[in-house]
């Protein structure tokens, strides 16, 4: 039960972060390790700044009315 609760908490955290345009860092790292082991992986800070710029800097983002 505590496992389920912990997993629910993780999901909730991920959902909240994705609502503001931040995908999961762990997923990104896992993806890079699995498919592009030769490429450099961004640090968590770099990843955060990259996603912030992508969401707001391009102007393609934003919510609804």
């Amino acid at each position: 039960m505590f496992n389920d609760l912990a997993r629910f908490g993780t999901y909730l955290g991920q959902a909240a972060r994705l609502m503001v345009g931040l995908p999961d860092y762990g997923t990104y790292v896992a993806h890079m390790r699995a498919t592009h082991p030769d490429l450099p992986v961004m640090s968590e800070t770099e990843f955060f700044r990259n996603r912030q710029e992508a969401r707001y800097g391009s102007g393609r983002s934003g919510g609804c009315c």
């Binding site: 345009g21 999961d24 990104y28």
Partner: protein, 687 residues
């Protein structure tokens, strides 16, 4: 037997929905409980989701769970990430929910709660949710491309450019009308102005923290930000009572307009991490939290509706906005029933995160049902307050005067008996000097929300706190929209003008950025300004323009989906998009025509311009104009509004022509001519 038991629960739910709706629709004279509306809406949503969205998924779209989505094919852990459907649902809902579904239903409540409720429920099932779902599907099959791109590739280059221009103008109108709502809510309100102003340093502090102190810790700093916001509301109450501080935060509409224009310009050229991003965190979490909280409190309090089911204003003589039930209720409630803007979201980030086509049903159709539920809550919140208070808050001073005595007398004559004492007391309860003519929907909604929240937390003493909490909640995400929208508008403008002046397209050049930003702010700023000085209060002219343009965009999106269905040789199911598209076209074209050419100056822009022009010719001044220049400005502004409405009519009619041509062409062709990405299987599906 099996079939019976499988469907029994749904038959039961249908019966519950029909019975609740019947209770809502047929009650006359006696007050009914808000839960009837909530029950009717939820059961109809569930049944529609179970059957109609399944029909669309299986028969119309023929979703293929083995087909790789853009997120799978281009997975990069950044822009394209296959995402758990519940998490994506949250993302999508947070992106589509905004001020629209909250404000429209409040304004529509002047005709009673019934017409608005029916349109919200029927509209979402037939039109709104279908549009969001279909566009998500079409975009997912085309690498998650944007609406403008989709129109270009399926309909042609010229309609693509027309749609892009149309979208830019819609953006400008949306920004202006949202800003107008903030102006109306904050004018002469030191408490509200202080709290909203306080969000700027709070957001900047969060931004610096996230940039340099602990990067990426969005959760903890948002919590700190929230505590600071609550503190700002409490301090705001003190500011409003202080004789030295209150005047510093008391502004009239024109002053606030200039502040918002300057703010919009500065905010949209600052680095995003400093102001836009942190405020977006605050506003998003506050928005979702407040919506959930409001839903829980509403069920717990189970308030009675005090607004009549239908008022006499269905004939078009309403004081909040003018125009008869058809077509105006269908454009007043835009988001919540159907919103063209969602087509931009459904063809934006969401298709790039969808892990499997089959989940498009829950995200697209389900997400919009949820948004519709927000609209239902808004119409309930507007209907639980005293109708007399509702009309006092939403009618222009030209109609009810500037004193509580005068207002109470006029409104009581309409049949909504109210005393001046109640109006004064309500203003006192919510910590404001006056509640007269606070049009725009946000203050009314805030009073309704404050009534509901204070019955759960804090009682009468907390009314003022909850009122300003609600104002802050709305102002916060409207300001975020102004900032993000100005940026988005700037990029659109650079893209569009870049076709003619290539130098403007360089998005890294400061002169070109500042020029495009200034043009964008000037465009919405001017429309905002004319709304503030409008003789009928601004909402009366701007909200219909917003509704018409937004619903027209929905019509364009549904026409695009129709063309795609013809191209896929699924024309026998094309009614799924043709029916809502036709209805939207009928409503928006009628409404657009009436707004331009109606002979009643309260409805028609040209008639109002003529009225002021005629007075000018006679050498008279008409209120609220105080000089010849202001008279001339009102004449010009109404001509401008008429031109905008005609422009939108042109956009939608030309799109209709292109749609018919493309559909006929696809129909005559024996082959499938849609331009989907070729089929690619999900790797190791089922393993």
């Amino acid at each position: 037997m099996n079939i019976v038991s499988k469907h029994a629960i749904w038959w039961f739910l249908t019966a519950v929905g029909v019975f609740s709706l019947g209770t809502v629709a047929l009650s006359r004279g006696e007050t009914i409980n808000a839960l009837w509306i909530v029950t009717a809406a939820v059961s109809i949503y569930l049944v529609a989701y179970r059957y109609y969205s399944l029909f669309i998924a299986d028969q119309v779209m023929q979703l293929d769970p083995t087909r790789a989505t853009p997120a799978v094919r281009h997975n990069d852990g950044l822009d394209y990430v296959p995402t758990n459907k519940y998490i994506l649902f949250g993302h999508h809902f947070a992106a589509i929910a905004g001020a629209g579904p909250l404000v429209g239903p409040v304004l529509a409540a002047q005709m009673g709660y019934l017409p608005g409720t029916l349109w919200i429920i029927v509209g979402v099932v037939i039109a709104g949710a279908v549009q969001d779902f279909m566009v998500l599907f079409v975009s997912t099959r085309r690498d998650g491309r944007s609406l403008g791109d989709l129109v270009k590739s399926e309909l042609g280059f010229v309609p693509g450019i027309i749609a892009l221009f149309g979208t830019f103008m819609i953006m400008v109108i949306i920004l202006a009308v949202l800003a107008l709502i903030v102006v109306k809510a904050l004018a002469e309100s030191p408490w509200g102005t202080f709290t909203v102003a306080a969000t700027i340093p709070i957001a900047m502090f969060m931004g610096v923290y996230n940039r340099f102190i602990r990067p990426g810790r969005v959760g903890e700093i948002s919590l700190v930000g929230f505590v600071l916001l609550v503190a700002a509301i409490l301090v705001g109450g003190q500011v409003a009572e202080s004789a030295t501080w209150a005047p510093l935060f008391t502004f009239n509409g024109k002053q606030l307009t200039w502040m918002l224009i300057i703010y919009g310009f500065v905010a949209s050229v600052l680095p995003v991490w400093l102001l836009l991003a942190p405020r977006d965190y605050l506003s998003t979490f506050l928005k979702i939290g407040t919506i959930v909280g409001l839903a829980l409190c509403m069920v717990y309090v189970a308030p009675n509706l005090r607004m009549p089911a239908v008022t006499q204003f269905v004939d078009g003589t309403g004081p909040v906005w003018s125009g008869s039930l058809f077509p105006f209720i269908f454009i007043t409630i835009a988001c919540g029933a159907v919103s063209g803007f969602h087509a931009l979201i459904s063809s934006g980030t969401t298709p790039k995160l969808l892990d499997n086509e089959k989940n498009a049903r829950m995200i697209g159709y389900g997400g919009m049902l949820m948004e519709s539920f927000v609209a239902i809550m808004a119409i309930v919140a507007a209907s639980v307050i005293d109708p007399g208070v509702y009309f006092a808050m939403n009618s222009a001073p030209a109609i009810i005067g500037k004193t509580v005595e005068g207002a109470a007398q006029v409104i009581s004559q309409w049949g909504f008996v109210i005393t001046p004492e109640v109006l004064t007391q309500t203003a006192k309860d919510v910590g404001e000097n006056s509640i007269l003519s606070r049009a725009g929907g946000a203050p009314t909604l805030a009073v309704g929300m404050a009534q509901i929240f204070s019955q759960v937390f804090g009682g009468q003493a907390m009314m003022a706190f909850w009122y300003h909490f609600a104002i802050l909640f709305e102002a916060l995400f409207i300001l975020t929209a102004c900032d993000a929208g100005t940026r988005a508008g700037r990029f659109m403008l650079q893209d569009l003008l870049g076709t003619f002046v290539p130098a403007l397209r360089q998005i890294n050049s400061w002169p070109s950025n500042l020029t495009a930003t200034a043009l964008c702010v000037a465009a919405w700023g001017y429309i905002l300004y004319q709304g503030v000085v409008d003789p009928l209060g601004g909402i009366n002219s701007l909200w219909p323009l917003f509704g018409i343009s937004n619903q027209m965009l929905a019509g364009v999106a549904l026409m695009l989906c129709t063309v795609v269905l013809f191209k896929m040789k699924r024309q026998k199911h094309a009614w799924v998009t043709i029916v809502p598209a036709s209805w939207l076209l009928v409503c928006t074209l009628t409404a657009g025509w009436e707004k331009v050419f109606h002979t009643n100056p309260k409805i028609g822009f040209l008639a109002l311009a003529d009225k002021f022009q005629a007075a000018l010719d006679r050498g008279e001044l008409l209120a609220p104009a105080k000089s010849v220049e202001q008279m001339q400005q009102i004449v010009f502004n109404n001509h401008l509004d008429a031109a905008l409405a005609i422009f939108f009519i042109f956009v939608v009619v030309s799109m209709l022509c292109y749609t018919i041509i493309a559909s006929l062409k696809a129909w005559r062709d024996d082959r499938v001519t849609s331009r989907e990405m070729p089929y690619e299987a999900i790797p190791s599906a089922g393993a």
